[in-house]
């Protein structure tokens, strides 16, 4: 306040510690390690991107955050009405919880992998203008998905109480399947965005894959209706393990067997590592493509 406007202009603020940084275009042998380092330096941007997505989603709608609550509730009612009679021979009593618990996880998975592609394509306009570590965009998509997942747990709890499934201590285990699914989604999202940068039809093709994948995973139907002879496909489907890991603590109040946990962990770590290496290997090329 004491400064006059003229003085204020002459004051130049420098950042400390950055003047020693040297960028050398010839030094890029380990791009998958370099990108981890770069992404960490831009972690505040990650938070801003997630905040932007969450805020812009809710800002202009009158019902705001209530939409995330209403949407699953409405779908719940419809699906329960339709499928309760179809699966009558089976215990339909807690069907809404059986369905919604898996739906919450599936929505997180399908939305965040799709968003990983569109985030990078959105960022594309920007990536031609300034340097930003590119992995930030798929990461932000998963981050936004995680926030929405946590919000969606609220209507899930409401339905549990309405239907009469009492929350058990096993639900404290839920962060484990959430983190594992997020890692799997990130790995897949990175691989898909690597492709989507070059071929724009990948986004549409993936939507078709997703809808088939949804019905191949025991989400709306009980596992027991799959004939013995055709279970191999179910066991080869990674989402089967993630869904079980997430659903059992909610629906039955028990933990999944250790084998499910092992398979899910191996699949998620391997997918993330593979996706990361694939993505960072093409990173120099992306600026030209976007």
């Amino acid at each position: 306040m004491i400064e006059t406007p003229v003085q204020a202009q002459a004051v130049v603020h420098r950042r400390s510690g950055r003047s020693n940084v040297v960028y050398d275009s010839a030094r890029h042998r380990m791009s998958f390690l370099e990108e981890i380092h770069e992404t960490w330096a831009y972690r505040d941007l990650l938070v801003q991107l997630v905040a932007r997505d969450i805020k812009s989603r809710y800002k202009r709608s009158a019902l705001g955050i209530a939409w995330t609550m209403l949407n699953p509730l409405m779908m719940m009612v419809v699906l329960t009405l339709v499928f309760s009679s179809v699966f009558r021979q089976w215990d339909t009593h807690h069907y809404p919880v059986y369905l919604l618990s898996a739906m919450v996880l599936w929505n997180f998975f399908s939305q965040s992998t799709t968003a990983a592609m569109s985030q990078l394509l959105w960022g594309g306009a920007l990536l031609g203008k300034i340097y930003v570590p590119k992995a930030i965009f798929p990461l932000a998509a998963i981050g936004t998905g995680l926030v929405n997942l946590v919000i969606a747990l609220v209507p899930l709890m409401v339905i549990m109480l309405v239907v009469g499934v009492w929350p058990s201590w096993a639900m404290l285990f839920l962060p484990v399947p959430i983190v594992l699914t997020a890692m799997f989604a990130l790995g897949l999202g990175l691989a898909l965005s690597t492709l989507a940068v070059v071929f724009s039809d990948v986004v549409d093709m993936y939507q078709i894959v997703l809808s088939a994948w949804f019905f191949l995973t025991p989400i709306i139907y009980p596992e027991s209706i799959v004939p013995e002879g055709e279970r191999l496909w179910m066991y080869l489907n990674p989402m089967y393990y993630f869904v079980n890991l997430f659903r059992l603590p909610i629906y039955e109040g028990t933990l999944a067997d250790p084998m499910t946990l092992v398979v899910a962990t191996v699949v998620s770590v391997a997918t993330l590592a593979l996706g990361w290496v694939l993505f960072t290997g093409r990173i120099d090329d992306m600026a030209y493509r976007l």
């Binding site: 202009q9 130049v12 950042r15 010839a26 890029h28 920007l126 300034i130 039809d201």
Partner: protein
Amino acid sequence: MTQTPVEELITLTGSQEGEAPAGPDGDVAVHMDNVSVVYRVPHERIPSLKEYAIRRLRGQFTYEDFWALRDLSLTVRRGESVGIVGSNGAGKSTLLKVVARIFRPTQGRVIVRGQVVPLLELGAAFHPELTGVENVYLNATLLGYTRKETEARFKDIVDFAELWDFIDAPLRTYSSGMAARLGFATGTAWAPDVLIIDEILSVGDDAFQRKSRARIRAFQEQGSTVLLVTHDPGLVQAVCQRALWLDHGQIRMDGRPEEVLAAYAAR
């Protein structure tokens, strides 16, 4: 001003990882060594995976290489301000993008010492639904600053943009001039080691333009290196002590602004 021997600089930087080499070469800000940038332009655009698979199988796959920069070598010393002129497609913007590490050169080597801030199309990242405050944070973190650093400079950013009355309104309610002012104020809130300007100094009204030039001058006075691309010869004269004329991705002329601009005008 003596030119730094190229070999000496390379042995110095090549031997160390991440740290600025000490000694006399510490005052080289940008060093480009035989840099080429090649864009691969397909004869037909192949946007879909399906299409690609079909072409690949039939062996129909033709493209042309476009050399945006060709064997370009350049050394810019710390604190030097260089204006770059040339016709469209001469490689001016590509040169800036290589220095800003947006493109990695196809051949050759680029070494940039210190933090680079590109003022290319300010506010490109603005989000219309977010408020001015939120957009300042988004833009500053996109430039690599932390939330804390932005917080510390926030008041000055809004002061400079003169937007206190609108800072809580969503950006879609801003005029394009207001958005540009906010973008400039955010991008220049910190003095960068290397400032890259692509045709954007004409932001806002006369008063704001004077103010933004004064800020660039303050940066220069305290040691920032400036690379400026513009079609305005007056601006090169006013801001730079050195000018480059780029032609077909190569340096046609390098020297004092009045000489280079005269030669460029007489081409």
